[in-house]
Each structure stands twice: as structure tokens, then as C-alpha cells.
Symmetry: C2
Subunit: 276 residues, 2 copies
């Protein structure tokens, strides 16, 4: 991915600093000049998953996150109705700062992913910013480990498991996981490195036999392309923020807006704040 955009040359170029500055990156997204994955924007800054829910469901969802910090590490909550989120960034607009929004209505994902939800904004929406695998993957790369799905140029394969989440109110889906293959010695290093990011899913939840956590075939992920697992490698499974979407759908929430995979909220936080 590059930062090339449809920026109007007549304007001060909003993209100039988007690779490094979180403010510039959010402006780029807010102005609708880029709608792709956020991975290469605002280097060194934490990116989070975003769940916007009406206040009526917010207490139960907060409880659900509190009970399941491995899959849903809760980094920030907004005041009901407030589009800003000063905890995470000086100028955040929760209704516009994702590249695109996935909208859930009556428990069903809407077909379109609009670039903003200004028209759908409600005065009772509460935002939940949740940790993702972003800091974890950076930590693995810094530890000198290869991430197979990156070498294969796709997002990590995701699977629904039979691992039960602790229920809270209407929320109680099974855990979703991402998979990264490693040789055992590297798997151990990956576990060490990942355990230092408790706010980014932390240590994995399983390795080895996929069937033990209800995954039938590694070659058929529930989302994203599969990653090749070489002879002698073991698949290592981490809790995934995708669990949030599954929980919202299973609960049949009347309204929610969330980030599409890979299109995350860019915060002002240094990535190290996801460490323990």
C-alpha cells in the first residue's frame, strides 16, 4: 500500500505527513481522500478497533469487554453522544475518522460501507476503542519473526472457534482467532514477545491442533485467505477483535457501527502504550 491519494493539488496536500502524523492521517480519512487499510498510516501510533453502540446496550457491552479482555481489550470509552474522543486523540471525530464504516442494523450488516456516519449519528452512541493485533504484529516483527500472511500479502486468516466467551447481557459469541504459523523455537519467541502486549490480545490462546478449538480446516479460514503452514511449523492462534462483530451480530443489536477489518481508528497514542 502507498499513501498516494486523489488529493486535490490546489489544496495544501493533506497526505504529506499522513505516514507519520496521526492528525494528518485522520484528516486524510475524514476528507474522504483515502478509504483503504490504515496499516501504513501514522507509523508508531496505536490503531484501535471501534464499536459504536446505543447507550441502551453500552453497559452490557462494557461488561462483556471487561470479562473478555483477551479478545476485547478495552482502551477507551466515549461519553454518550460525544463525537470526539479526547482520550485517544486531540481532534478525533468518531463519525468520520475511519476509512469506512460497517453498519449493523437489526442484527444484519448493511451492504454498503459508507465513508462516514454523520447521517446515522445518534445522540446516544457510545464508542468503545478496542485493542487489535497491530502492536502485537509490530512486536513480532521487531523480534525478528516473519509474519507469513504479510509475506503472502494478505491479512491474517481468521477463524471462528468453539472457545466460549464470558457472557454479559445479550453478548456471548464464540471467540474468533487469527493464525500465524511458526517453527516451535520461533513460536516460543512469539509467545514471549506477544505477552508484552496485553492491550493487543497478548499471548496466544492456543497452538497446534486446530480441531482442539473447533477449527475444521486451516485451509478454509472464515475470513481472509489461508496462510501456508510449512512442514514442522505449528499454527499459533491469537484472540481477534473480529470477536466483537460476531458478538454484535449474534446479539441482534438494532444499531451499531464498527470498523471494517484493517480499517482502524488512528490514535495519538504511542504504540508502546499497548504494552503491559
Amino acid at each position: 500500500m502507498t499513501q498516494a491519494t486523489r488529493a486535490d493539488e490546489d489544496e495544501a496536500p493533506p497526505t504529506a505527513d499522513a505516514g507519520r502524523s496521526p492528525t494528518a492521517a485522520r484528516r486524510l480519512l475524514r476528507d474522504g481522500l483515502y478509504d483503504g487499510p490504515t496499516g501504513s498510516l501514522a507509523a508508531g501510533r496505536l490503531q484501535t478497533a471501534l464499536v459504536l453502540l446505543p447507550e441502551q446496550e453500552a453497559l452490557a457491552f462494557a461488561t462483556y469487554c471487561q470479562r473478555n479482555p483477551k479478545a476485547l481489550p478495552l482502551l477507551a470509552m466515549s461519553r454518550p453522544g460525544e463525537r470526539r474522543c479526547p482520550q485517544l486523540g486531540a481532534d478525533i471525530d468518531l463519525a468520520r475518522d475511519l476509512p469506512a464504516y460497517r453498519v449493523v442494523e437489526e442484527g444484519v450488516v448493511a451492504p454498503d460501507e459508507p465513508p462516514d456516519i454523520e447521517d446515522l449519528w445518534r445522540p446516544d452512541l457510545v464508542a468503545f476503542a478496542l485493542g487489535t493485533a497491530q502492536p502485537l504484529e509490530i512486536g513480532l516483527l521487531q523480534a525478528g519473526l516473519e509474519l507469513r500472511h504479510r509475506a503472502e500479502a494478505h491479512a491474517a486468516p481468521l477463524y471462528e472457534t468453539n472457545i466460549p466467551m464470558e457472557k454479559a447481557g445479550p453478548f456471548g459469541a464464540r471467540m474468533w482467532v487469527s493464525m500465524r504459523p511458526f517453527y516451535p523455537a520461533d513460536a516460543i519467541r512469539a509467545i514471549e514477545a506477544a505477552s508484552r502486549f496485553p492491550k493487543g490480545h497478548g499471548a496466544p490462546v492456543h497452538f497446534g491442533d486446530p480441531g482442539a478449538i473447533g477449527i475444521d480446516r486451516l485451509s478454509k479460514p472464515d475470513l481472509n485467505p489461508p496462510s501456508r503452514v510449512r512442514d514442522g511449523e505449528v499454527p499459533v492462534f491469537w484472540a481477534s477483535a473480529r470477536t466483537a462483530e460476531a458478538a454484535l451480530l449474534a446479539a441482534g443489536v438494532r444499531f451499531a457501527a464498527i470498523n471494517p477489518p484493517g480499517k482502524r481508528l488512528i490514535t495519538d497514542w504511542e504504540i508502546d502504550r499497548a504494552r503491559g
Copy 2:
């Protein structure tokens, strides 16, 4: 403190195992046979502060805890109206299992501390179990450090500071802290040991000059007797769960029930679950 009680000799003695078994300890408290501090009950099990609040204020209080994990580490939340808390213990009754309850009505602490709140129980109450200094103090003792207030046979001195808490809804008091004096080398060891208990206030928030955090006189704590600070020792300050009571009072909540200091909720959790 001993476990001596007014146990009826005609019954199976409920106190026999209260020093070790969390179930026996809670039964002792539930039956009104003991109303003192819980420190020596259910050795090795985590004890928590307890805040019971109507659902109307619960989302804001959850947000307040989420934003201030140092003072208010959130260990569990109950379902509204549910007197049980299966996350924390098999048989917990939130309306009866504290030695005594401190009741807040219209922002004022009621003069009596009843042994249960069965009559005051409401179907909209949400429980927040918050980490306390209990695991921290055990960790300090295990590290071979002396706790001055224990040597002086009183609870740690508590002070209101000028350290602002992150606000959420009506909640936004200043942080309360506990103070323990150490020589510098021991203070460093205390910081190391405490940092391993992020769910029990973790590392201190300040050491040295009390005035820097708004404390006028160490010899005049806002709560509990002072601890002697020897020549060459530095006062070390930890965030305190007392902050929760201050926040509830400052917010003028219409109703809340909390634990009196030192009279905590006994859980089934091993104390090590307060580690990071």
C-alpha cells in the same frame, strides 16, 4: 485480629475454616458472626473493594474506572439486579457478604453501617469489584519489606491529593493515596514488587515531597493514623481504592452501597490473579 466470633456452639462451627476457605469466610460474614476487617480471612484469596450503584449511573462509573485503572482497577461487574457474582465466587451474595455496608444516600454517607443491605437491595443495582492494596501489601511483605503501618498496628494512612482523575459523567474526584515509608533502596524494591500487581494499584504514583501532590502535612492523614517516617526514609504514595468513595460523594449519587475500609469482599480468586 483473631477469628474468634459469637458462633453458636450448637451449630457446626462456621468459623473453623474461615481463615483459609473463602466459602467459609463468606458464610461467617453472611451469618453476621463477624463484622471486622477481612484481612486475616481466606488467606491467599483476593479481596476486592465493592461499589453497588443503580444502573442509571453504572455506565458512567464503568467509564470512570476504565479511564482510571491505577486507582480503580476493575476486576468484575455484575449483571444489573443480580445479587450473585459468579465471576468472583461460587456462592457470593452481594447484599450480605461484606462484614458491613457503607450506604450513600443523596450524596451523603449514612451514619449506620448495616451488616447487610437486603432491605435496601434494588433490582437495578450493578456491582463493581475493584482492586485494593491487599495483593500489593502481600507482595511487599513477600519481598521482605516492612510495612510501617502494620508494625504500628493500624491501617495505612490515606490522603486526598491534587492529582486529577480522568472524568466520566458525574464522576471526577481527585485521587486518594496511601503512604508507606521506605529507605530509597527499599523504595526501589517496593516499586519493582508493586509493579507486578497492576490489578492492585501497581506501581506507586509518587514518592518524596508530599506537597508536590497537594498533601500539606504527612502527620495529618485524611483517614487513619499517621505512619512514622524515619530520617532518610522517603514517603511512597500509592493510588487508593478510597478514591471510589470520594468520587461517589462528589458526584452526589442518589444511592450507592460500598465496603467500609478494610472490610472487603472475599473472592475465590487466588491472589496471584492480581498480577499482570
